[in-house]
C-alpha cells in the first residue's frame, strides 16, 4: 500500500504545491492535503502558538493538526531557507519544522526537506535523495521524480503569469478549465505574500471581492520578473527577504510605469518583515502621489463589513479619478 504524505495548505503551499505533489507522487506516495482553512483550523493554530505569532504561521499549525487528525504517514514541512541567492525567507520558515515538532505532540513523521537554493545544486541533490529514500531505493528514480516536479513547477508559474491566481493555477493543473480574468475596467496591483491573499478564508475572499467590483487584479506572482527586477534595482540597498523584495520591487515598478489604477498591499498582523517593507512602500506612494495606495492588515478579528467599506471607498476613488463618477 502506498504511503500517505500530507501537505498542509498554508504558507508556501500556494507557491509550490504542484511541484511538491508531483515529487511525492512520482515516488509512489499518495498525497493528501489538509482541508481548506476554516474556523476550527485557525482556532487550533491559535491554541498551539504563542500569542504574538503571525496569523499565517498560526494557520499553518492548524493545518498540520488537521493532517494529524486525518491520519497520514508523513507530514511535509519543508525548511525553506532561500529560494534565491543571498536572499532568505523570514525566520519562521527557517525554523518551521522545529517549531512544528516542539509545539504539536504525537505527530506522524515530519519530512523536513531543506530547500536552500543558495547552497547550490549539490546541496539540493543531497536533500532530495535523503527525502526520496523514504519511499524508493533507486537514486535515478528519485532524480527523475525531482526533474519532473521542477517541470511541473515551471508550467505552474507560466499559468500564473497568464493572469491566474495561484489557487486558480493549482486548479488548472488538476484539470479544471478556467478563463483568465483579464477583464475588469480597473487594474489593481495586489502586493502581498501569496498566503495572505490566496487563502480565501484569511483574506475574506479579497480577490473575488475586487473582481466583483469590476477590478482586474494583478498579484506579485503574475508580474514578470524583469519588471520586479527593474523596480528592485531602485532600492538603496538590496533587500534580503526575497518575497519582501518582490513586493517592494513591484511597488517601485508601478510608480514609474503607472500602468495600474491603484495599488493595494496586504500584510498579516504580527508580520515582522512586512512592518518594514509596508512602511517603505507606503512612503514611496505618498511621496509620488500619482497612484492611489491602500494597505490592509489581516488578523483573526478582521471584520468583513469593515473590509468591504474600505474596498468600496477605494474603488470609488479609482473610478472617480478615471472620470467615471461625476464629482
Amino acid at each position: 500500500m502506498s504511503k500517505k504524505v500530507g501537505i498542509p495548505k498554508g504558507l508556501l503551499y500556494y507557491n509550490f504545491y504542484p511541484m511538491w505533489k508531483t515529487f511525492f507522487e512520482e515516488l509512489g506516495a499518495e498525497v493528501v492535503t489538509s482541508s481548506d482553512t476554516c474556523k476550527k483550523i485557525i482556532d487550533d493554530g491559535i491554541k498551539t502558538c504563542v500569542d504574538e505569532t503571525c496569523l499565517p504561521v498560526k494557520t499553518f499549525m492548524g493545518h498540520v493538526i488537521d493532517l494529524k487528525e486525518k491520519g497520514v504517514d508523513y507530514i511535509f514541512v519543508p525548511r525553506v531557507i532561500s529560494v534565491e541567492r543571498r536572499r532568505y525567507l523570514c525566520s519562521k520558515f527557517l525554523g518551521l519544522p522545529d517549531l512544528v515538532r516542539n509545539l504539536i505532540s504525537d505527530l506522524p513523521q515530519i519530512i523536513d526537506m531543506k530547500i536552500d537554493y543558495y547552497r547550490g545544486e549539490e546541496f539540493m541533490e543531497r536533500e532530495i535523495l535523503r527525502v526520496g529514500k523514504l519511499f524508493v531505493d533507486g537514486t535515478s528514480k528519485i532524480k527523475d521524480a525531482y526533474e519532473k516536479s521542477l517541470k511541473r513547477q515551471r508550467t505552474f508559474e507560466c499559468i500564473i503569469r497568464e493572469g491566474f491566481s495561484n489557487t486558480e493555477a493549482i486548479k488548472i493543473m488538476e484539470g479544471k478549465k478556467l478563463d483568465a480574468n483579464t477583464k475588469g475596467d480597473l487594474k489593481i496591483a495586489l502586493l502581498a505574500h501569496s498566503y495572505d491573499i490566496m487563502d480565501d478564508y484569511l483574506s475574506m475572499g479579497l480577490i473575488n471581492r475586487l473582481k466583483n467590483m469590476g477590478a482586474y487584479v494583478l498579484t506579485t506572482n503574475m508580474i514578470e520578473r524583469d519588471k520586479i527586477e527593474k523596480g528592485a534595482s531602485k532600492l538603496q540597498k538590496d533587500l534580503f527577504w526575497n518575497y519582501g523584495r518582490d513586493i517592494l520591487g513591484a511597488g517601485k515598478y508601478f510608480i514609474e510605469s503607472e500602468d495600474v489604477d491603484g495599488v493595494i498591499s496586504v500584510s498579516a498582523f504580527g508580520c515582522g518583515p512586512d512592518s518594514i517593507t509596508e512602511d517603505l512602500l507606503e512612503r514611496d506612494y505618498k511621496r509620488d502621489g500619482k497612484i492611489p495606495f491602500m494597505s490592509i492588515t489581516i488578523d483573526e478579528h478582521t471584520g468583513e463589513a469593515g473590509l468591504n467599506t474600505r474596498l468600496e471607498a477605494f474603488i470609488d476613488l479609482l473610478r472617480w479619478r478615471k472620470g467615471e463618477i461625476m464629482a
Binding site: 502558538c49 532568505y88 525566520s91 527557517l94 525554523g95 522545529d98 533587500l239 515582522g272 512592518s275
Partner: protein, 360 residues
C-alpha cells in the same frame, strides 16, 4: 562633521572613546527617556519592533542637538534589523532633516574589513591613531562588561536597596572618562571593592536566573525596564547571556561559539534562524543543564526569531523541568501587571526549591 549613533547599553561609551580618539566630534544622543520613546513611536511604523522606535527617537534627539552624521549598523538578514537604517533614513528625510547616514553592513568576515570600511569615511585620520583609539575603546568595553557581571551577582545581596546601583553608575561614568589603561584598571579594582563592601546579605535560598533573548533588549536597560535591577532587587542573582564585548568579538571573528550554540540547541532547533533565535534556544538548554532555578527570555514584541525560539523553549522547559518565562516588550509594557509577573515568577522558583529541599 558631528557624529551620532543609537544607544545600546554601553555602546555609547565605546563609540565616544573611539571617535574622540581620532578627533571626530561626537554628539551623544541624549539618554533614553520616555520622551525619546514617544518621539520614536510617533514616527515609526506601528508594528515595527521596539528597538527601531528607540533608535529613531535617539536620532531625532541627536539631530536636534546638532548632529549631522548618523552611524548605524546594517545587516544581511533575515532579521529585520538589517534594514532598519534604510527605513529610518527615509523617515528622517520625510521629516525634513538634513544629515548624512553611514550604514555599516557587517563584513562577511573580519574585524579588519570593518575598520577599513569605517576609515574610508574619515580620510584625514591616521590608521595608527584609529587603531589605538579602537583598542582603548575595546579595553573599556571589556572592563565595563566585567564590572556589570559582578554587579548582577552582588546587587542581589546589597545591604540597602539601590546602593550598589548607585556605586555602579558612578564607576561606569569614571570608566567612560578614563584616559588610559592604568587608570581603567584601578577604577575597576576600587569599584569592585566598593560593591563588595555594600553587598553582604546572605540568604538561605539563593535563586539564580539566566536572562536570554534578543540582543538589543538584553543590552539596553531602558528597553527592558531595567529588568536586571528588578530581579536583583528581588534577591535573585542573574546571569546575562549576552554582553557587547561577546557580541562584537563573535560577530567580528567567526568564533567556535556558533558551534557551541548548535550543539546545545541540537534536538530543538537545527539551524541559525536569524537574529538571536539560536542563541536563545542554546542558552536556555545550557543554563537548564547548569541547574539554574529559572530562565527568563526577553525580546521585542513581534520579534520573528524570538517568537520561534519562544515556542521551542517552552518545550525545553518541560523536557528539562525548568521554569521559563517569556516577556515581550513594546511601548506599553510596564503599564500593568509587569512587576507582579516578576514577583510571581520568583515565588514559583522559591516554592520549587523548598519542595526539593524537603525531598531529601
Amino acid at each position: 562633521m558631528k557624529i551620532t549613533y543609537p544607544h545600546m547599553g554601553s555602546l555609547n561609551m565605546i563609540l565616544k572613546t573611539m571617535f574622540e580618539g581620532i578627533n571626530v566630534e561626537v554628539v551623544e544622543p541624549p539618554p533614553v527617556t520616555n520622551k525619546t520613546l514617544s518621539i520614536g513611536v510617533k514616527y515609526s511604523p506601528e508594528f515595527v519592533c521596539l528597538p527601531y522606535k528607540i533608535n529613531l527617537g535617539n536620532f531625532i534627539e541627536a539631530l536636534e542637538n546638532g548632529a549631522d552624521t548618523i552611524i548605524m549598523l546594517g545587516g544581511i538578514g533575515p532579521c529585520r534589523f538589517g534594514y532598519y537604517g534604510q527605513a529610518q533614513k527615509e523617515t528622517l528625510i520625510d521629516l525634513g532633516y538634513k544629515f548624512n547616514m553611514i550604514i555599516l553592513d557587517p563584513p562577511h568576515g573580519r574585524l579588519v574589513d570593518f575598520l577599513k570600511e569605517l576609515s574610508s569615511y574619515f580620510p584625514d585620520v591616521y590608521w595608527k591613531d584609529a587603531l589605538k583609539a579602537f583598542i582603548f575603546a575595546v579595553q573599556k568595553m571589556i572592563i565595563a562588561d566585567k564590572f556589570e557581571k559582578k554587579l548582577l551577582i552582588l546587587r542581589a545581596h546589597e545591604n540597602e536597596i539601590g546602593i550598589t546601583t548607585k556605586i555602579f553608575e558612578d564607576y561606569m561614568e569614571k570608566i567612560k572618562n578614563a584616559k588610559n589603561k592604568k587608570e581603567l584598571d584601578s577604577i575597576y579594582k576600587e569599584g569592585l571593592e566598593k560593591l563588595k563592601q555594600n553587598a553582604t546579605i546572605k540568604r538561605e535560598i539563593q535563586l539564580k536566573v539566566a536572562l536570554v533573548g534578543e540582543i538589543y533588549l538584553m543590552l539596553e536597560p531602558f528597553s527592558n525596564l531595567d529588568i536586571l535591577r528588578s530581579l536583583n532587587e528581588l534577591g535573585i542573582e542573574v546571569t546575562k547571556t549576552d554582553f557587547l564585548s561577546d557580541y562584537l568579538i563573535n560577530s567580528a571573528f567567526k568564533l567556535p561559539q556558533r558551534m557551541e550554540f548548535k550543539k546545545y540547541a541540537h534536538g530543538y532547533l537545527e539551524r541559525d534562524i536569524g537574529g538571536h533565535g539560536l542563541n536563545t534556544v542554546a542558552n536556555t538548554v545550557k543554563y537548564a543543564e547548569k541547574n539554574y532555578d529559572g530562565i527568563i527570555q526577553i525580546f521585542p514584541f513581534t520579534c520573528t526569531p524570538e517568537i520561534v525560539a519562544q515556542g521551542i523553549i517552552a518545550k525545553v522547559s518541560s523536557d528539562k523541568n525548568i521554569p521559563v518565562m517569556s516577556l515581550s516588550y513594546d511601548e506599553k509594557t510596564g503599564e500593568a501587571g509587569y512587576q507582579t509577573r516578576l514577583e510571581a515568577f520568583k515565588d514559583l522558583l522559591e516554592r520549587r526549591r523548598l519542595k526539593n529541599i524537603k525531598k531529601y
